[in-house]
Symmetry: C2
Subunit: 116 residues, 2 copies
DNA sequence: TATATTTACTACGGCAAACGTAGTACGACA
DNA sequence: TGTCGTACTACGTTTGCCGTAGTAAATATA
């Protein structure tokens, strides 16, 4: 069975993560669940990929981290909040995706299984 | 102005190049022209990217090279021909693209310029 | 005729994102 | 008591893209 291409997704992990932060701050584990759910189990982001994306994006000013705690317990988590720069970056990435996708599709031939 | 994402294209260069070889063998310079034309100038593949893709794909058995000469002159060129394995690989890559694209698009928000 | 541009590559090294492996630590559950 | 889920961190490898540079022949331009 065909699987997600990690080489294509490579250029989109930042976009995917930022999407998950658009409405409210979140943290690693929750985001990985969101991605799994939203993709209907088709894409499961690797932990190392996720956390390295966080630190890269924080360095670039697209997200900000703060320490919060899980409800009930006093356990700490690192939350991430998207910045204005991050929103701008997300928008640009979406435009870039649309353009790139259109170009790539000129070189893609859908198989004609669907012929009838 | 928005440009092609080389991080997204990264996973697709092999597919793009193989597409150019589907109908007949070709060589580096011609393929780079084909890509530029077919993408309406939006994607210009780097020479190093192209030639390293050739050697990688030849190593993997997706293309075969042979020495031919340009019409008129006795100048030599290296032509590439897609193999059966290469065609299979191309088909798989297309399926993978379609699946990956569908997943990514769940995390993309088109800007609403087009609202009317 | 001299020079620049186009054609057609090869070699080498660097970079960045993804990923494999491993390890830590705490809480819940059985 | 031990396993599973949660919530990470550290470290090193791989892979594909790309910058720079160089070669060389053919063709266009001055």
């Amino acid at each position: 069975m065909t699987e997600i291409s990690s080489d294509v997704i490579r250029g989109c992990n930042d976009t995917i993560i930022l999407y998950c932060l658009l409405s409210e701050p979140s943290y690693g584990y929750e985001i990985s669940k969101m991605i799994k759910t939203k993709s209907e189990g088709k894409y499961i982001i690797k932990e190392t990929t996720l956390y390295s994306a966080f630190s890269r994006m924080e360095k670039n000013g697209y997200v900000e981290s703060y320490s919060g705690e899980a409800e009930g317990s006093g356990k700490k988590r690192t939350y991430y909040r998207i910045t204005d720069e991050g929103r701008k970056y997300y928008t640009e990435k979406c435009e870039e995706w649309t353009l790139t996708k259109e170009v790539i599709e000129r070189f893609i031939e859908e198989n004609s299984n669907g012929n009838y």
